[in-house]
Symmetry: C2
Subunit: 503 residues, 2 copies
């Protein structure tokens, strides 16, 4: 395919994408395919000679589309969907077209520098304390990680290394392995599974902190656990707080948890992968309050002396903003050296003359993968094409639609709301057994008209309804509720008939 | 931006990308900017109100392009560049347009299933043993990781977990921490720095294996180190072989190393991030020989009994094929459960009814990040639009051009070739001091006409010339050599004049 053909095919693909998104709501949101459907539809090996582009595109319609779960559909209410936006798609196309791999500054200065400035823009939109910004020439700064899981893992691994060094400063004889075996991480029992995964990768014990009646981690609970663990010779080193948990969008009380982490030399990482983007609205920003109170002293854990050693780091990150689409998870740290020192490698082939200048950022030291796409272009395009006001409007619309859905649920005596509706997530269930609710969800999934996933709250099976779509409007919410109540009425009727027969 | 505007802007962007790539060779390949150049060119915060698309696109030319290192330029000979191709860009655009996040099968069945089949296609192109394919309904299969670094890390972490479990089976009292402190990984002294990084993340010791005169790891060297380490109570558990090292494209002798790893219960991971793609050509496939001889028995390390326990895994992976562009690193394993069991999490919100069927793959368990783009589309488009023959032609052309460059270097008495030219990399230097060669590279970088990076071979500073570009032709190689010799002649003349004065 030469450039002339690319011009033609590329424009067709732009229309294909536009058509797809314009007509997406008429598609079945959850596909009607059986496991293994695809293999028999295509050859078992790659062709020896080139095929025509027409054939490939025809197969997209024939083979791919019937098996796609349509994340961008207004009928998609599952997980915490990252929507995307047209400016983000354009920026991604530009990124593919430039085809850069930006591991060091020299590998692409524009890629490295735009990332630094965009994370400052975003930090300011979130009203992060200045310590987290790069422009203040302090020690902090932001980075784009591929996913929230990677951000949490980076934080935990960096905290592990830092704590090992701290302990060894006061007790040089102690081996790394021995120290690591005594480390304890903490997170909410409601935290995302990626936090536990990070602890397994890091080879450290993690304890799940029980939550209060609002599903929030409170200071006294964490404090008690930390005290217990210290008393038995363990070293508390890491706490991952969540702002907007996956099951029910609960908020840990970071304003009371921060001081404990400071006092106990615990690295606090704030996972705000879902709710973080809402903090650009002044009315939601108070949920992030406390981030500025986190102290900058780390005393040696398990040390006899109490001298100051390193600076603590706190972080906040998010799959920021939903308009940006996937693979762009922002993370900030107060002291970037704690990240970069952890895993810095400098082979000859990656050296460049501006390396030691302190003026450039080699982002390969800030994450697990070394190579990276030019992702800051997405942030730049989206921030400019929407403006802060446009992005705020999106957040507010989603929250408003969720509140509308909440009212519909509350007005129906067969249903109950299972957690406070703070943002775009509504947790609800039929009054009755888990089996009944599982049967309802199964019906919803089989019908394929809307797509939801469940969660467990206090052991009960609960349905999650997340408003995240760029094109989701009031009518979609109303239709969805009508559909749910129709299915549930049938279920309840069957149950009633069945019970009638049994009596 | 609505769909109508996206249609217009998207088509403009397609032309922008086509124009960029068509005219790229007239650009300075390495940018002439100072660290920090970008910040002053754009505002210090995001706009409150939306800006016009024209302004954004104008700034791409004004702000971004002057700071880009042009990886797709035919004058780019640095690192091991991943080129990209028009079919890959189209597939990426489609992936952005669908906007899916495929962590489980249910999250997008097409995404999960196409990945499985494409890795089989690629495995067959590479003539991998059947154990590595999914279609054989065995225990093996392939996965797309974001980067080669992540693939190596996943392998090392899975091997760590597997070894800990093995040891604990025979010695249940032994703690995980104690076992991990005794684990030893091995890799070539010439291996990519990401292998060492993986060992730091995994918290295990790594030993660098010295290479022979061809920069290859040989069996007897590894065998000796393993014996030494076992004698002092350590547990050898992981060896990362390299086929196509980063400094000079050397090949570890996997045909002789495999049997040792089998005998010693060492998980062998083959890093072929650069050279792997060439194994689709019959003339290069012998370099992968030995992969089929790896055994399927793992005996308990440090165990008194010698009973069989698990199956060993070997892997081969590559940033496969250069036409596919970045963030698509293929990895195969013989027993996928060793990967997936290592870090499997199953929260309620990720469960789906086909989970336990054995028919579907939830790729979130196969890597570090849980979420993933629809990357197999790139493989599908590229395989079909080029055909195996077209992809082989690319590899052969690059190798041929590299051989041509080698001849140019050999014909010049001022220069020497520093390592055997097997594929697209030529390692060369001016006969003389490291300082002289550093001065030459500095001149090359400053001039910005071509871009190379250095390496160290046996302590000496060496220049690397990599032919990887989709559009690199004979005339570019000739121009590059002319440029290098012009700069070196000046340098040598200056040196001569200077020495003349001193005498």
């Amino acid at each position: 395919m030469d450039a002339a053909e690319f011009r033609r095919r590329g424009k067709e693909m732009v229309d294909f994408v536009a058509d797809y998104q314009e007509n997406i709501e008429h598609r079945r949101v959850y596909p009607d395919v059986e496991p293994g459907y695809l293999r028999s539809m295509i050859p078992s090996e790659a062709p020896l000679e080139p095929e025509s582009y027409e054939d490939v595109l025809r197969d997209v319609d024939r083979v791919i589309m019937p098996g796609v779960t349509h994340w961008l559909s207004p009928h998609f209410y599952a997980y915490y969907a990252n929507s995307t936006s047209f400016p983000s798609i354009l920026a991604d196309l530009l990124s593919s077209g430039i085809g850069t791999i930006g591991f060091t500054w020299a590998a692409n200065p524009a890629c490295s520098e735009l990332e630094t400035v965009m994370l400052d823009w975003l930090g300011k939109m979130l009203q992060l304390p200045e310590d987290f910004l790069s422009e203040t020439q302090g020690q902090g700064g932001g980075v784009i990680e591929g996913t929230a899981s990677e951000a949490t893992l980076m934080a935990l691994l960096s905290a592990r290394l830092k704590t090992v060094k701290c302990v060894q400063e006061s007790d040089p004889q102690r081996s790394e392995a021995d120290i690591i075996s005594k480390l304890i991480a903490y997170t909410s029992e409601e935290a995302h599974s990626s936090v536990e995964k990070a602890s397994i990768i890091g080879g450290v014990v993690i304890r799940m902190v029980p939550t209060d009646e609002h599903f929030s981690v409170r200071a006294e609970t964490l404090e008690k656990m930390v005290a217990e663990d210290k008393a038995t010779g363990f070293i508390p080193f890491f706490f991952c707080a969540t702002l907007g948990t996956t099951p029910c969008c609960a908020f840990d009380k970071i304003d009371e948890l921060g001081p404990i982490c400071n006092a106990e030399n615990i690295w606090m990482h704030i996972d705000a992968a879902y709710a973080g983007c809402a903090f650009i609205c002044p009315e939601f920003r108070p949920l992030l309050n406390g981030v500025e109170r986190l102290q900058l002293q780390l005393r040696l854990p398990a040390s006899k002396t109490d001298r100051e050693a390193h600076e603590a780091i706190d972080e906040s990150r998010s799959n920021f903003l939903r308009q940006i689409g996937f693979d762009c998870s922002a993370m900030w740290v107060k002291k970037s050296a704690d990240l970069t020192r952890a895993f810095q490698m400098d082979p000859e082939y990656l050296k460049h003359e501006n390396q030691g200048s302190g003026l450039v950022k080699d982002y390969m030291h800030w994450g697990i993968p070394m190579a990276r796409r030019f992702r800051s272009l997405k942030l730049w395009f989206v921030f400019r094409m929407y403006g802060l006001s446009g992005l705020q409007a999106f957040i507010r619309k989603h929250v408003e639609l969720a509140k509308t859905f909440e009212i519909l649920v509350r007005d129906d005596n067969n249903f109950e709301i299972c957690a406070e509706v703070v943002m775009g997530l509504v947790c609800f269930r039929l009054k009755g057994s888990d089996e009944l609710n599982k049967a309802l969800l199964k019906q919803i999934t089989r019908t394929g008209k809307i797509y939801l996933v469940p969660c467990r709250l206090r052991g009960r099976f609960v349905l999650r309804f997340v408003v995240c779509g760029r094109t989701t409007e009031l009518r979609h919410i109303q239709e969805a509720w009508k559909h749910i109540t129709e299915l549930s009425s049938k279920l309840l009727q069957n149950l009633f008939d069945h019970e009638g027969k049994e009596n």
